[in-house]
């Protein structure tokens, strides 16, 4: 397949999400506005008002109902989308688990924003990180282009018959959601062809015959039943199995998309940046990776063997990939834009330290909590972190394993 014709448009991350939804033959959008996701909902409303889409737009009275409506619409057979952030995502918390438990392939964009209190509209990852156990696939985009591309891929990933799990596409508040960027856009027909029409797996129906897994009066099934100690556990186990299959599917769909778009984000799960011979490296998700790449390039010109590992998916966690990519790194800084209060550092730190436990050699690992509530993460702060790593490399000592970067002490 040849790379398809594309055009370049200046748009922010939210608009990129809305456009991807418009092109992906979505049946139902149910959403509730919250800064910095609002533009997504507004653009989609305009598409509907102008008759540019056949989508049914349900402007609900809360996020709880927005996700519920998507879940129920998805169970009815529709392709569905919603978007939220911060307090809105927290309000959805209950239904996040119900959505994945009902195996409803809902796609949701999250414009990552700090949680209250104090109330704050700016970027950090506390809202989506706290939902890491909800059995949603989480993709963190580095820029608006990746946001657009990931959105289109997500419908395919979520609806894949071996996966059938909801997907969150996370984009950093304001840094991505509101910042204009050149984005390469595929033609409507190209996207439509790529996403295709939703298919349904066959399940055992009431009369003992196999029927499509959806609410269909011709083939009635019961969804969301009471499921007690005799079966619940098996159903939860099935969700874990789906998460185990997901990495392969995410990679395949990412690969297939790259053939029409010409764009790749590592292998779809992780992106290793100048890591092959790196002695020191950082690990992060989201837009900070962009700034970090500049810092790495700068350090390389000075002869410092610096690298970066960006996790594109945090769920499923690509454990073996992470271990492989960090194999030769000697000092490692894990960057968390959220904190696990009273624990020992942020969630990415926990996961990476855990991933490295079985590695043949163990690097020194430090954790930096940064950027809470939208605190800027300039190249200078990142540079200082690499300097700390160089010191660790020389002294072979970690002074403090969990630190805060860019905060008044």
């Amino acid at each position: 397949m040849a790379v398809a014709q594309q055009k370049t448009l200046a748009m922010n991350g939210d608009e990129a999400v809305a456009l991807a939804v418009k092109q992906s033959d979505v049946d139902v959008v149910a959403a509730y506005p919250i800064t910095p996701q609002t533009i997504i909902v507004e653009r989609l409303s305009e598409y509907v008002a102008n008759g540019e889409v056949e989508t049914e737009f349900v402007c609900t009275e809360s996020e709880h109902s927005a996700l519920t409506a998507c879940l129920a619409a998805s169970a009815t057979g529709a392709r569905t989308f919603t978007a939220s952030a911060s307090a809105g995502l927290a309000l959805m918390h209950e239904i996040l688990y119900v959505t994945s438990g009902c195996r409803a392939p809902v796609v949701m964009a999250i414009a990552n924003r700090a949680l209250s209190a104090p109330i704050n509209i700016h970027c950090d990852h506390s809202d989506s990180m706290v939902e890491r156990d909800s059995c949603w696939i989480q993709i963190y985009a580095e820029n608006s282009q990746e946001t657009y591309d990931s959105m289109i891929q997500s419908f395919r990933i979520a609806e894949h018959l071996q996966v059938l799990l909801p997907v969150m596409v996370c984009l950093d508040a304001f840094v991505l959601s509101h910042t204009l960027e050149n984005v390469q856009i595929l033609a409507d027909e190209t996207v439509r062809k790529f996403v295709g029409v939703r298919q349904f797996p066959l399940v055992m129906g009431h009369e003992g015959k196999e029927v499509p897994f959806k609410l269909d009066p011709n083939n009635p099934i019961t969804m969301g039943p009471l499921d007690l100690h005799d079966y619940y556990f098996e159903h939860k186990r099935q969700q874990e199995e789906a998460m185990k299959i997901a990495p392969r599917i995410i990679k395949e769909i990412h690969e297939e998309f790259s053939r029409i778009s010409g764009r790749k984000y590592g292998n779809g799960l992780i992106e290793a940046y100048r890591l092959e011979d790196a002695d020191i490296a950082t690990v992060c998700v989201g837009s900070t990776a962009g700034t970090t790449k500049t810092v790495v390039d700068h350090l390389r010109t000075k002869g410092t063997k610096a690298g970066l590992l960006r996790l594109r998916t945090f769920r499923p966690l690509p454990l073996t990939e992470i271990m492989g990519a960090l194999e030769n790194v000697k000092a490692l800084a894990i960057m968390d834009r959220s904190n696990s209060f009273g624990g020992s550092g942020g969630p990415i730190y926990h996961e990476i330290r855990h991933s490295m436990y079985d590695a043949p050699t163990h690097p020194h690992i430090v954790n930096y909590i940064y950027g809470l509530g939208g605190r800027d993460m300039p190249p200078t702060t990142i540079l200082n972190i690499y300097k700390d790593l160089q010191e660790i490399l020389q002294t072979k000592k970690v002074k403090r394993d969990v630190q805060f970067a860019g905060v008044r002490q």
């Binding site: 709880h64 109902s65 519920t68 619409a73 009815t76 569905t80 009902c102």
Partner: protein, 324 residues
């Protein structure tokens, strides 16, 4: 709005297939289970049902069994109206795109009083405001039965529940029942009705009207619960009838906002002397037992007073005053 001319006969109803089947695990004499069966007998074609968490969800779908012969979904407690919104939106979009096998599919949402008066009122208010085409059926057993008889916004004044227990100083629930059906009328939706499982024909006709309504329809069904109201399981229908005869649960409907008293209640407007005293109704249920202690006897008068007050207000709304 069109009103149905459908008048089901007992024969027709018995012969119609059961869509909510027996074998579910509801208690003997369960009022809500009767309501569900009756409503499902009023369906007119392909139907999708969604249920809030509560007794009816729990007793009818213990995996891997189900009592439902129609597509059915439960997601949570407070969001059944949002389920209906999503289902209806999906059907609309799929029909528009030519991906729906049916010309019309009706959507019914069932919820208890907890799922409606209390935790579910936001989703319900939002869904009807948006005008989704569905029938919302509230089966009212006047407490959270599934979790062990806790008070709700529907629990009547004076009733003892596990969170409004009758004690030495407090005579059960202090507050009065929220007028939920009037609240739904105030949403200016095309159809609202109250019904009692003691009057099955009236209930079925109203359910059919609700299904035929284009846009949101709301039904409030009076469904005694022997377990929570503490009476013998054989008395469910008797109590459901007494609720109407005492006018504590009058039967009426609004079509495009116009109140109409149903015949079963109209009789008490025309012949007020036939309206029964509330004390007999209370006496039958042990949730009100403490009210018959001398110390709390005044509560019975309070209840009677409030029943009369609400009844008279309803009569005014229906353009029927008791002196007419």
């Amino acid at each position: 709005m069109t009103t149905t001319s459908w008048k089901p006969t007992a024969k027709e109803i018995v012969e119609k297939a059961e869509l909510f089947t027996s074998g579910h695990r509801a208690c003997a004499g369960c009022g809500p289970a009767i309501a569900l069966r009756q409503v499902m007998k009023a369906t007119r074609g392909p139907t999708i049902v969604t249920n809030a968490t509560g007794c009816m969800e729990v007793v009818s779908t213990i995996y891997p069994y189900t009592a439902w012969k129609v597509p059915w979904i439960h997601t949570a407690f407070e969001n059944v109206a949002a389920n209906a919104s999503g289902i209806e939106a999906a059907l609309k979009a799929m029909k528009r795109k030519g991906r729906l096998a049916h010309e019309n599919i009706d959507v019914i949402a069932f919820a208890g009083d907890g799922g409606t008066f209390d935790i579910g009122i936001q989703a319900l208010s939002g869904a009807v405001e948006r005008g989704h085409d569905f029938l919302y059926v509230l089966y009212d057993n006047e407490a959270y039965m599934n979790t062990g008889i806790q008070r709700s916004g529907s629990t009547p004044h004076g009733a003892s529940t596990t969170t409004s227990p009758a004690g030495r100083v407090i005579p059960g629930k202090l507050q009065y029942k929220k007028p939920i059906a009037d609240i739904m009328v105030a949403h200016e939706i095309p159809y609202v009705a109250t019904a009692s499982i003691a009057y099955w024909q009236d209930l079925l006709v109203k359910a059919r009207r609700g299904l035929e309504t284009e846009g949101p329809a709301f039904m409030h069904i009076f469904t005694p619960c022997p377990r929570g109201w503490r009476y013998d399981t054989s008395k469910t229908i008797e109590i459901a009838r007494l609720g109407v005869e005492t006018c504590i649960f009058p039967l009426w409907e609004t079509i495009d906002g116009e109140y109409n008293l149903s015949p079963q209640s109209k009789i008490f407007a025309l012949k007020p002397e036939r309206k029964k005293k509330i004390s007999g109704y209370l006496k039958m249920q042990r949730r009100f037992k403490h009210l018959f202690r001398p110390k709390f006897k005044h509560v019975i008068d309070e209840i009677q007073h409030r029943v009369d007050e609400r009844w008279n207000r309803l009569l005014k709304r229906c353009n029927m005053t008791q002196s007419d």
